[in-house]
Symmetry: C2
Subunit: 310 residues, 2 copies
């Protein structure tokens, strides 16, 4: 909450880096090339791929750091390159923290309790011996219920970190599960929202901002439902995907904020990090892709700032 206020920017930039969409200059620097079909060459060296992820990510972090309080780094795009990819993920978490940013590790993990404990240790604990600086917060999946979330909460509390529990996701098919109607008139997503608030409001988890270290991933679906979810989770910060490439409107996103303009952090990934391919940025900064990213990031911040202050 402080970091958002300091930058006057309730947003984070999502690093979901697909090498196939990188600016040619990044690929050249690390000696990678795409085939005529635009795909990465089969058998591309994983070390080269990890280098590309690292080089691209570092530039994005450098240019967005003055404008946003946080980045969200999705580990799926790194895990694809196995050991080398995971190393690049960890390097970028550290790089972003060193740039003064808060880092959300978008890992969407969950397992039964004693396995969740291992994930929590992996992703919420610094480990100097392994040169690992953990993210400030991570995303987790609620399908197993509370006892799989508790290990994450325990370590988050101990370390001054946080988590965002998936409540309502931004994909089309989410409705198949999350929109199921329960007999009390709530959808499953809304019911999960109530559960998450009950976890978030526990003793010792709510800070002086009035918000808990347990937040929620909430993609606005329809206005009435988003309003219900906002009411159901008064102490949760919402991590809001779907602005930009995924096409949520300003009004839909506005509903995720409380009336005082706090309570949400809006993410954009592709619409910022691939700005070199998006007009007007691509043409305006044709020879300097990081400036295209920076311009798109500034416009994104302005757009969300307007929305939050409605």
């Amino acid at each position: 909450v402080d970091a958002i206020q300091e930058k006057n920017a309730p947003v984070c930039v999502g690093l979901d880096p697909l090498i196939e969409r990188f600016p040619p200059a990044v690929l050249q620097d690390v000696g990678l090339s795409l085939g005529p079909d635009g795909a990465l060459q089969a058998g591309a060296d994983p070390i080269g791929c990890a280098d590309a992820l690292r080089a691209f990510g570092r530039e994005v972090i450098r240019v967005v750091a003055p404008h946003v309080p946080a980045v969200k780094i999705n580990i799926a795009f790194f895990e694809r390159y196995h050991v080398e990819g995971v190393r690049a993920y960890l390097d970028l978490v550290r790089c972003a923290r060193e740039a003064g940013l808060l880092v959300i590790g978008d890992i969407k993990r969950a397992d039964i309790g004693h396995s969740s404990t291992q994930y929590a240790r992996a992703h919420l604990l610094d480990n100097p011996g392994a040169e690992v600086a953990a993210p400030d917060a991570i995303t987790v999946n609620p399908y197993f219920g509370f006892d799989t979330i508790r290990p994450f909460i325990d370590i988050a509390r101990q370390e001054g970190r946080g988590l965002f529990v998936l409540v309502q996701t931004s994909n089309e098919s989410a409705a198949e599960v999350q929109n199921l109607a329960l007999p009390d008139g709530l959808t499953l997503g809304e019911h999960v929202a109530g559960l998450v608030q009950s976890w978030a409001g526990a003793d010792g988890l709510v800070g002086r901002s009035g918000y808990s270290c347990v937040g929620a991933v909430v993609s606005p679906r329809d206005l009435a439902s988003t309003e219900r979810i906002r009411t159901l989770m008064p102490q949760c910060v919402f991590l809001v995907p779907g602005f930009g490439a995924q096409g949520r409107t300003a009004q839909e996103v506005a509903t995720c904020f409380r009336s005082d303009g706090t309570g949400a952090i809006v993410n954009a990934s592709r619409s910022v990090i691939y700005a070199h391919n998006i007009e007007p940025y691509g043409e305006r900064f044709a020879s300097d892709w990081p400036r295209a990213v920076e311009a798109a990031c500034r416009d994104f911040v302005t757009a969300v700032r307007d929305v939050a202050q409605r």
Copy 2:
């Protein structure tokens, strides 16, 4: 199904390795020691930890390979050691495949579509350039609905691999979400079972065994519900956790099989891999922990074989 028949053993052994529970001999071999509280020394070298995971896992694989068709390796216990841990996970996947075992990568991943595609590529594709041999099947989470599962199915079909979708998990709190009653009288878990069958039964996914490459994780809760779920998913192989340490009874597990004794593969983890600490195995094989594991594994196979053939 063939592999189960060949070994006459509808079981897999779960590798959820916690270094703190390893036989002292394994720790000595790699130069690790536990503190007086039984915890790993703070700042323990991650390479040493990964070596311990690898040494322990290799021995378990060696002794269980003659008796079981498959092992399930839970990546959470490896991710805890970051890059070195992931390397050990991949080494053990390869080791188990080389031992002639099928491997279930217990990763419980899911994300929105284009991110799930990255997870699917990471965990269902061999990658010779990175010396990665992928597991034969993986576990995935259904909370996002079909479009996050489709990328896994697409790559599984192309590669002759499979997946197990979480339907009913074995932890206490699972009921908070999975047992929610829907207006049609089904629980959420049972509704998800119906969804998974609709995905599993699609053209091209069902093999000559009559089973699909899309299976389900089903921990039996009560008999009536397990019977409903078995009926709702006629073409799905059930991966059944909870036998052994988690305390499901033989009759509860029996309900996961179809009447011909096929359709389920039962997992035991802690009750087999830590047999050196479980009587009568610990005492009988005090100086030879792998023999304790082998004896516990044989007893586990016999117990499940009896159950399946009821």
